[in-house]
Amino acid sequence: MNYLPYAVAAWLFLVGLYGVTTSRNLVHLCICLSVIQSSSYVLLLAIGYRTGRPAPIFKDIKPGTPAVDPVVQALMLTDIVVEVTVIALLLALAVQVHKRNGTLDPSRLNEIKG
């Protein structure tokens, strides 16, 4: 049970990769990329969590009580911003691809080969 979060993280990574590899739609591909990213969130949060401890907000709890790791949560915040920006860019590309080619299927975009 204690290793379940790690297993979930690994599963998300693999499933996302499968989605990206076999995708037939660029928007679907972008969402699969964010699934891969979610795996790193789950991993980070599982690593930062400490059983039985509250959140690191010292407004309600006394300063100095042991709390969950805040560094990991700050890292995750950065990661979310990074992911959003990449997905936004990829979706913009997908919009333009659709306008030019009428299709979002990677196998039908065969301008570049070799």
Partner: protein
């Protein structure tokens, strides 16, 4: 100038924000001038840091959160000569490519300059930092700017496909790095590279450390375009605007390799040191595969920019070997090779940009003979071929020698024949282009197998111009001459050897960052004198092969049966992003399993 370490990142970012805010109000000339000024200032700051770091690694703690008792809370920059040198080199290439782009684009959005400045800021921060997560953040900044710059020509459908391939594969690489960082954080509870290294040294390396190593290294090797993570590079280069290709091939991919070297030597060396022989085999195998695949694909391209991109992959293979031999001479050789290669390859891309500017195409067959009146571009291509072959005194030859020297020290002297092959075949490809386009030799239809349909490269410029402005050929010529003559720079080799030995000393680095102990520069090792005729010999062989290919039908016929099996390799580079990710998964899995099972 206490705050100098901050400048290479802050100056371009502030200028980018300024340009974005005023983008509608500023005429293009003012925007260009502002970005040139910002780039020059950044390069000056990085050079200042290079000088300052020669005697002692410069450490700067952001927010004033310095280390106490060997433990850190905040982020530090840990600037040593190789990092600062790479930052300065990035600034120089950016400056020259901005100069080129002044006359190259008919209409440039001011956002282009802002993106280029953000790209430079990302590269500068990447090379100067001493914190693992900060490295990742600047890696992403660099990538975000690169994705945007790559997709600039949205009139062209293939431009979008190349950008998609680029963005998807590199983003997966970034997620791999993040996973590795999370694993290391779990083990060491630190994000500062020096602290992580010292903490990992206390316990023997177990499967967690090896898995983290595999993830992080593979993530950065995706950026470094090493087989089998290399597929995106050719697509991205084929569609990115030419001044941006200069930056991609000249510094961006080398940054991936720099990250691998930095992370290995500061974080992993204390604990993975006993497994060096296995690591060397792994990296040499990857490097050799990259050299060979890159070289073969390079020669079979018709699109000049894709040809140059594959030659970059091939040369990156040699640089991977240099880093992957894990000794002082190899690292120093790679550093000098980066300088030479960046300048020569950059000048070749500028040359192809001149061709695109004048004739609206970069297809070798379409360009046949049309370069006869473009003498500067022709000079650049011929000199560039010589540079790629590694004639003395180019940076490539000096780097080559050091890498061969380090291979001999490890006992894999046969590597030099593979590097001769890679240098020769890429030089032959460029020579072939030069001879057919600028001299008009051979017949227009003569062409090796390559089933790719004719590609129409929509020009980044409106129409074929009839003159090449001086701001376009002057940077190209300056770069190729710089790359060829850099071997004459005084003190380059001993200085780089000294810097490399400092780079590889994890304990001194950690002592400097965590406790502030000044570093002592050790004396450089004994160096053998170079053999200047080797590069000339390779160039001659390359010239002979390419001339035979161009002029003699008999030669082409006799070579055909040899080439047929290579068709499969060619077909693998399909342009489909799913294929690329499948190969990435395979490479990652293989690398990870090798690391876990052989490091005993």
């Amino acid at each position: 100038m206490q705050y100098a370490p901050v400048l290479p990142v802050v100056i371009p970012l502030f200028a980018a924000a300024l340009l974005a805010a005023l983008s509608k109000l500023l005429p293009q000339r003012v925007a260009l001038g502002l970005s040139l000024l910002a780039t020059a200032a950044t390069t000056a700051a990085s050079t200042f840091l290079l000088r300052a770091s020669l005697s002692n690694t410069v450490v700067y703690w952001f927010g004033g959160w310095s280390a106490h008792g060997g433990k850190t809370l905040g982020i530090s920059f840990a600037i040593d000569p190789i990092g600062a040198g790479l930052a300065a080199f990035a600034g120089l290439l950016t400056f020259l490519s901005l100069l080129f782009s002044a006359k190259y684009f008919d209409a440039a959005d001011n956002y282009f300059y802002a993106l280029t400045l953000a790209f430079l800021a990302g590269m500068s921060g990447f090379t100067l930092t001493g914190d693992m997560f900060n490295l990742f953040v600047f890696f992403e900044l660099m990538s975000a700017a690169a994705f945007g710059l790559c997709g600039l020509k949205t009139e062209d459908p293939s431009s979008l496909q190349g950008s998609v391939n680029f963005a998807v594969t590199n983003t997966i690489g970034a997620y791999l790095v993040l996973t590795g960082i999370a694993l290391l954080y779990a083990r060491t509870s630190a994000l500062n590279m020096a602290q992580m290294g010292q903490t990992l040294a206390r316990t023997p390396a177990d499967k967690l450390v090896m898995a983290a190593f595999a993830f992080i290294v593979c993530g950065y090797l995706v950026k470094a375009a090493v087989v089998p993570f290399h597929f995106w590079l050719a697509d991205a280069h084929a569609v990115a605007p030419t001044p941006i290709c200069v930056l991609f091939s000249g510094v961006m991919v080398e940054m991936g390799l720099y990250a691998v070297a930095r992370i290995y030597w500061t974080v992993f060396d204390p604990s993975l040191h006993p497994f060096l022989p296995h690591l060397r085999i792994l990296f040499v195998a990857v490097g050799v595969a990259t050299m060979v695949v890159g070289g073969i694909e390079c020669y079979s391209q018709r699109n000049i920019k894709r040809l140059l991109a594959f030659s970059t992959i091939s040369h990156m293979g040699l640089m991977t070997v240099g880093v992957g031999l894990f000794n002082v001479a190899g690292l120093a050789g790679t550093a000098i090779y980066t300088l030479g290669h960046g300048l020569v390859k950059g000048s070749l891309f500028l040359g192809s940009g001149i061709l695109l500017h004048r004739t609206k195409t970069v297809d070798e067959s379409e360009l046949h003979g049309r370069g006869r009146r473009m003498k500067w571009a022709g000079i650049v291509f011929f000199l560039g071929a010589a540079g790629l072959a590694g004639i003395f005194p180019s940076g490539l030859s000096m780097g080559d020698d050091l890498i061969h020297e380090s291979a001999k020290q490890i006992g894999v002297e046969w590597l030099k024949w593979v590097s001769f092959f890679a240098a020769g075949i890429t030089a032959a490809a460029v020579f072939r282009v030069a001879v057919r386009v600028f001299l008009g030799w051979g017949s227009p239809a003569s062409h090796q197998r390559g089933a790719a349909p004719k590609e129409k490269e929509k020009p980044e410029t409106e129409s074929g111009h009839d003159r090449t402005p001086v701001w376009m050929w002057a940077p190209a010529v300056a770069m190729v001459l710089g790359g060829l003559l850099i071997g004459f720079a005084p003190g380059l080799k001993p200085g780089t050897l000294r810097a490399a030995s400092r780079f590889e000393d994890a304990n001194t680095y950690a002592a400097r960052v965590l406790q502030g102990t000044p570093v002592h520069s050790s004396a450089p090792e004994e160096e053998k004198t170079q053999e200047p005729w080797v590069g000339l010999f390779i160039l001659a062989a390359a010239a002979i092969i390419s001339l035979a290919n161009v002029k003699s039908k008999g030669f082409r016929e006799s070579v055909k049966p040899l080439i047929a099996p290579l068709r499969a390799l060619h077909r693998l580079h399909s342009g489909h992003v799913g294929d690329y990710v499948a190969f990435l998964t395979f490479g990652l899995a293989a690398f990870g399993l090798v690391c876990i099972f052989t490091f005993r």
